[in-house]
């Protein structure tokens, strides 16, 4: 094995095909976007060099700022929810769940395999208020909380929350499986020793489990971040970005600008911004890893 990996040709053989593929489908388009962002109009039609005009426009654009705020809120809520609840569920599976382990784990993981559009349709029905109350509103109305019955996805104040709840529900099973695997890797003796030393549940988590799970938590945060920063299909399926712009994300705005408004140049600037946001976000999360 060592001999094979010591051979530079062998390394090249392993790396180059993937590298070529990666260059073609990731790096080239990014460079292409940067190039497009210096132009105005759509390629082929009124395609003029605009220099940095598109970039100047970016931070004066109210719609862009609105989309950015929505997107950042969404990232914060969904990331915390997905990773937090995923971790919580994994702890639940590991320490408290006694019976029906497999069935419950399967049920929690199940939403991960559902297509986003189907989930969107499902939640449209759950949040429904007209013509009939959906699941949520009919439960509220039946337990005497008629006051809380409201158009969950039809008003700006609750639409983003409703969307986030859906995306957390979909992905938490995925993270719980990862965390559960990591928890199983922690030797039982350590936990037992801690218990003998009189460690309660909170301290056990704080002093033993959390440090040992740290790399996994960071990986999950990066996963969740990259998944949420591109917020698009679930919002489209549930609310179409509405009401108004309440759930319109950066990528939805980018799509509109480039493909509906025919301003591919300006759309590319937004794309470049999303790219930078991705890098910056992952960078910040990874910094927690290097501290120790």
């Amino acid at each position: 094995m060592k001999r094979v990996l010591g051979n530079k040709k062998a390394i090249a053989l392993f790396v180059i095909p993937a590298l070529i593929l990666y260059t073609v489908i990731v790096i080239l388009p990014v460079i292409w976007s940067v190039y497009y962002s210096l132009y105005e109009g759509s390629p082929g039609l009124k395609w003029e060099f605009a220099g940095l005009d598109n970039y100047k426009r970016l931070f004066k654009d109210k719609n862009f700022i609105a989309a950015l705020v929505v997107n950042l809120k969404y990232i914060a809520i969904v990331m915390a929810g997905q990773v937090g609840l995923g971790l919580g569920l994994a702890l639940f599976f590991r320490f408290w769940l006694k019976n029906f382990k497999n069935i419950i784990r399967t049920l929690v993981f199940f939403p991960v395999v559902l297509p986003t559009v189907a989930v969107g349709q499902l939640f449209v029905k759950i949040y429904e208020i007209q013509p009939n109350y959906g699941l949520l509103n009919s439960i509220l109305s039946n337990i005497g909380l008629q006051k809380l019955v409201q158009p969950w996805i039809g008003q700006a104040s609750t639409a983003l929350g409703a969307l986030s709840a859906m995306d957390i529900w979909v992905a938490m099973g995925f993270y719980s499986v990862i965390f559960y695997g990591a928890l199983l890797d922690i030797p039982g003796e350590i936990i037992e020793a801690a218990k003998i030393d009189g460690c309660n549940a909170v301290n056990l988590f704080k002093s033993i489990l959390a440090p040992l799970l740290r790399p996994i938590i960071i990986t999950c945060l990066v996963f969740s971040f990259t998944g949420t920063v591109k917020m698009f299909e679930s919002a489209l399926a549930l609310t179409k970005g509405g009401p108004g712009n309440a759930t319109k994300s950066l990528s939805m705005y980018m799509y509109n600008v480039s493909f509906s408004y025919g301003k591919v140049g300006y759309g590319s600037v937004i794309a470049v911004f999303i790219f930078l946001l991705c890098i910056a976000g992952s960078g910040i999360i990874n910094r927690f890893d290097k501290k120790n």
Partner: protein, 460 residues
């Protein structure tokens, strides 16, 4: 050994999947081709009209055209076009071939923009009237259909109303597109509910508001609208605008002669917001899509519903719980008799059919002539629908189609829809923000201002 075989197998599958993924688009047109090749005339109506004979003396020029449609070959206008084309091939010109390509309505404008950029427009394509088609006319891409039909001697097959509407929409004296529908819009109402609440058909806007209040008092939801789809709500604003400011008010704002923030437009937005804030649309109108809204009217859960005459498709379906006579129609109530009268309708020709200028030749002309001569009758016999062409068959008109035909006969002037003259940016803003307007999160002033901002911004 086994593992190795398995891994090789997996790799080959992956590569195969990748390749098919890349090549997906290219295989599409070929299905269209096979369809045209294996043309069985089974689904074609036996009554070939006598006009065929007239077209039959054309030279049988070999020609292959490409048709881009937003309807599948077995649906709606897609079926109409393919059926007629197949019949043209079997009856008139066996050397004629066609390729049918389907694109979703959402992607239509983007697709056409790409094709224009690569100078590869299809011979015939479905498109949107109003601002989108104006761009193509200005780029000199479209055939002057009016003139072409004149040359072919079939210009009189088009309905004059449709022609003048299309000319208005493109702002030209020539005709650059063919209608695929002839729609009037207005309020559909549930007769049983009107009777139950003892409400008469409103003729003025005050009557209309009074009717809403009366219905609500009787425990009936007065209105329903597809707020999730956005456009049904802007249509309501448009309805008030055309009655209070005249049929050309939206066009004036788009031309820069008026501002969207002028008092009249703001007042219209305020009227609709007012209807919503009184709860006439029920709770959460922005979560209801247009289909659901239509069903609510039919099943008696709401009394009035603004929609176009294409709604007859749902009305005539056997599944309509209101039955064959349970739903009626009235035009937008009058606000100011001096500005807009009851015989002025909000109208459109649906999606339209346009022809590429550079690809048009004698071969296409034969097909075009046949289409225009027969589409009116075909649409009437197959769908009982008026498409904007003359017809001389007595179609089996349902009560609802008869209502539409009667309304069409009353038209004195037509207005277009709210976003017709807006470019896509302004139109997107107008539609997105209308949800905040009816939710009460934006004032009418703010709403119209956002449209004006988008309009100013996109002129830069």
């Amino acid at each position: 050994m086994k593992k190795r075989i398995l891994s090789i197998l997996l790799i080959t599958t992956m590569i195969a999947v990748m390749l098919t993924g890349c090549g997906g688009k290219k295989t599409e047109p070929s299905t269209g081709e096979t369809n045209s090749g294996t043309d069985t005339t089974t689904d074609i109506a036996a009554d070939t009209t006598d006009t065929n004979a007239a077209a039959g003396d054309d030279k049988q020029i070999a020609k292959k055209i490409k048709i881009l449609s937003i309807w599948a070959e077995d649906k709606d206008n897609g079926k109409l076009i393919t059926d007629l084309t197949k019949r043209y091939i079997s009856d008139v010109n066996p050397n004629f071939e066609y390729e049918f390509e389907l694109v979703s309505a959402d992607n239509l404008k983007q697709k056409i923009a790409t094709l224009v950029a690569s100078d590869d427009l299809p011979d015939v394509f479905v498109y949107e009237s109003g601002k989108p088609i104006v761009d193509l006319i200005e780029a000199d891409k479209l055939l002057d259909v009016g003139k072409a039909l004149e040359d072919l001697g079939v210009a009189d097959m088009l309905d004059e109303g449709a022609v003048s509407l299309l000319k208005t929409l493109s702002g030209t004296d020539e005709l650059y597109d063919l209608p695929l529908g002839m729609n009037v819009e207005g309020f559909w109402y549930n007769k049983a509910l009107f009777e139950q609440a003892d409400v008469e058909i409103p003729t003025t806007w005050e009557d209309f508001e009074a009717a809403c209040a009366k219905l609500q008092a009787a425990g009936i939801q007065p209105l329903t609208a597809g707020g999730a789809d956005k456009w049904p709500v802007t249509r309501l604003i448009n309805a008030y605008v055309m009655r209070s400011m005249g049929v050309d008010a939206m066009q004036k704002a788009a031309d820069g002669e008026a501002k969207y923030t002028d008092a009249g437009y703001v007042a219209a937005a305020a009227k609709i917001q007012d209807l919503a804030s009184k709860g006439y649309f029920g709770e959460g109108v922005t979560t209801v899509d247009q289909n659901t809204a239509g069903n609510m009217l039919l099943s008696g859960e709401a009394a009035m519903f603004y929609n176009g005459s294409w709604f007859t498709e749902a009305l005539t379906a056997d599944t309509n719980p209101a039955g064959a006579d349970g739903i009626g129609f009235f035009n937008i109530p009058v606000v100011d008799e001096a500005k807009g009268t009851i015989t002025e309708y909000s109208m459109n020709c649906g999606n339209i059919l346009a022809l590429d200028k550079s690809k048009y030749d004698e071969g296409t002309a034969g097909w075009l002539k046949y289409m225009v001569e027969n589409i009116g009758n075909e649409a009437m016999t197959q769908f009982g629908a008026v498409k904007g062409y003359k017809y001389d068959v007595a179609g089996e008109l349902s009560t609802y189609s008869q209502i539409v035909a009667d309304e069409l006969a009353k038209v004195s002037k037509a207005s277009t829809w709210f976003e017709a003259a807006m470019n896509s940016e302004t139109s997107t803003v107008a539609q997105d923000n209308v949800q905040t307007l009816i939710n009460g999160d934006a004032t009418p002033q703010e709403y119209m201002q956002s449209i004006q901002d988008a309009y100013d911004g996109s002129l830069e």
